[in-house]
Amino acid sequence: MLDLQGYGPRLIEGAGVTIQLAVLSLILAILLGLLTATAKMSRNWFLHRTATVYTTVIRGVPDLVLMMLLFFGGQIGVNAISDMLYDHYDIDIYINFNAFAAGVLTIGFIFGAYMGETFRGAFMAVDNGQIEAGKAYGMSSALVFRRIRFPQMMRHALPGLSNNWMVLLKTTALVSVIGLTDMVRVAAEASRATHEPFTFLLPVAAAYLLIASVSEWIFVRLQKRYDIGFGGQ
């Protein structure tokens, strides 16, 4: 069997970090994506502009550069505020921008932009007649959102969502470069220490494939669920 030379537990811990990081950033990205899609479709000029600049800039710059910017610069930004408090009011607070939080925020922030595009397309694909029908039934707009727009939007959004998730999952590997101990970092460290790169990198690659395959299966199930009532499509 595979001899992990004592790095086994740390590798599993690292896999845990990878999965937590991916899931938490996915949640943040979905929230941001919904907000962005709403802002983009809004008639408010300012909201529309902000959302457009956000999605354009994020999608034009490499993930790793954004990550380094937010990760290395983020704490300094937070500190500029607390420094000001200290200099002017002698209040000394410290807000810790730890590596994991920075990772979640950065990846969530990046993929929020991609999700925004996915959701916008999906919202627009929902038949307007259905929404009008809902209104005619006297539903409040919140209820229309919950019962009609959201479930139907999800049907259209799922393929894009699944695609974004797969890319997001692989993007988590980049946090190893900025110093977070995910499974890639543990594997790289172990390869250097033992001079056996394949022993550690190949199992980690397999772990990514496994996570990807499991999530693919879940997405197929979800798609079936949201396709109910649209049989044959």
Partner: protein, 256 residues
Amino acid sequence: MKKLLTVSVLGLAIAAASSAQARDYDHVRIGVDVPYEPMEYRTADGELTGFDIDLGNALCDQMGVTCEWVEQEWDGIVPGLLSRNYDAIMSSMTINEERRQTLLFSDPYITMPGAWFAPADSDLEEATVETLEGLSIGVQRGTTYDNFATDTFGDTATINRYSTADDMVLDMDAERLDAVFLEFSVGKSTLLENEDSDYKVVGEMVTEPKEVFGEGFGIAFRQRDEALAEKFNEALAELKEDGTYDEIFARYFGEE
């Protein structure tokens, strides 16, 4: 606006693992770049050790404060201090003028020369602009060795920059590098004492020019934390007085 607000609220919520940090230094966090054997490294069972670590812990005992070591890769170690991820850096950091502009240093606590290392069968006898021309040189990104090599040999040799000393050793073993430039004690324990391959020191120990290689290693602080630096200086003097310092020194470098 709503979005902006949500983002910042979310950010604060996640970052709220935070702690309100008080001003009395009864708990000091020290940033360190690991591994950098023998100055700071982990033993096989994962325990943090090394000259800096032992001395740092002794200093904290002397001051009666608790210390926490925070690992940080070298290229982010100064920003990490400035951004208060920790309160001090004790990681074989050379005191020099360039860094003094940003940081406040303790008194030097050890002096270590830099040195060039190359495979034992290499023709390299000394490191000069001429002998290194066209070769690949490894340095750790952002170290004084990087700065010196970049400024002196950057135009004639290829300089490969690594995040950790370990990365560099691996590429040296793979014969991707012709020579590496790093602190002597680290090169000694990672290259000279490496069982698989043979390495040699090229030329003399490097301590000049002083503007670059400075006055030895110091503990770095944020410039406003003068009181903390003063506490460390006092404790360091006391440890040198009572022999603890010599004992730790002997543990890693033998009697000298």
